[in-house]
Amino acid sequence: MSFIPLALIAEVTHRCPLHCVYCSNPLEMQRRTTEMATEDWIGVFRQARELGTLQLHLSGGEPLARADLTELVAGARAGGLYVNLITSGVGLSAELLSRLIAAGLDHLQLSMQDVEESLANDIAGARSHALKLEVARMARQQPIAFTLNVVVHRQNLDRLEQVIAMAEQLGTDRLEIANVQYYGWAVSNRDRLLPTREQLKRSLEVVERARERLKGAMRIDYVVPDYYARYPKACMGGWGQRLMLIDPAGFALPCHAARTIPGLDFSNARESPLGWIWHESPAFRRFRGEDWMQEPCRTCERREIDFGGCRCQALLLAQDANATDPVCSLAPSHGIVRDILERVNTHAVPEASGWVYRIDPR
């Protein structure tokens, strides 16, 4: 069976003006001096298109921190890709947005930390909320697709109605409400971020009602925390099956957190052709398909649905990247997740302070 990297996530820099307490970047980030040059990135985009990639997600860090972002957008669009910019909005002027659109930007995805300014700024470790609202209003008037992405967790999940009202007020077509996933920086803040079962249940009802009411006007995607799921998520659509991530220095990864897995040697797009990295490199083949699986995954009837879940989460929680994702109710290590949820659901809501903030790379 042959797999195609339908989407490419290009982390063009790890530099970012925000310090979000749940940032998905690795704890050890790439510095500015190691970042790939403009022409290296454009070469990567061309090769990806030849492999069958359709969607490019320009991500970071904050992509706007790169002075050559307009060239990157132009290069990607000329190479035949659908270009999405995932941004905090910090540093986006009306003039720069116009230039990006002229260069071929198709879609802008703006992250918001909350509906209330004080918590939003507290989570981001920066005064960015008011500015983001301005960017949202600006983007809405431009001829591009616009998605508002709001990250939710224990501290703000009870305000979901207000979050949806904010999106309506801003006139966005698409709202993505994503619960924090526990990798990278979020792990240190997990007890303050994981919602209770009751909060989650209510949130599902709120989303369902809003979807019904806003049908045809706004599309709402809702990502639940997988700790509460019965079965794991098909992480990245399966290891090395649908997505490829390139980090600022050019290292090709099957997912955001893959570098945490010991013993894997990741190839660099500056040194090896992308086609070889995707199809042949040992790291991309390591957990592709089913050969690596242990029981209960190996004989599970869901093994082609969720592919055993997330390898990084298995490593993080069960200390074994080959294990069944511990969030799976069938996993031998599921007790770890049960204990975490037990704690979260029986203890009082921890104060929204004492956060561990993401530190910016030099």
């Binding site: 969607q55 659908y82 599309r219």
Partner: protein
Amino acid sequence: MPHLESVPRLAAGCRVSTVAGEQPMLLMPEGALRLIGTSLKIVELCDGQRTLAEVITQLQQQFPAVDPAKIATETVTFLERLHEKRVLNFA
């Protein structure tokens, strides 16, 4: 059901990609739709000029062997699906 006099057009940030030697794709945020056969013809007719009624009439003329009522229903169903995905607007 959208009004027959409304004008269907692709939403901002949604476009048809035609690359030589490849099947045309409708590109949109977070996804792509392979445009096969009639779906390509329908999307091409939604140029922001024609009304929904005109799009249907045009298709009925192009496919005289197919039941006109079936063409109308299937076209509306397809466009409504795109509308729900926020890929298409009825102006």
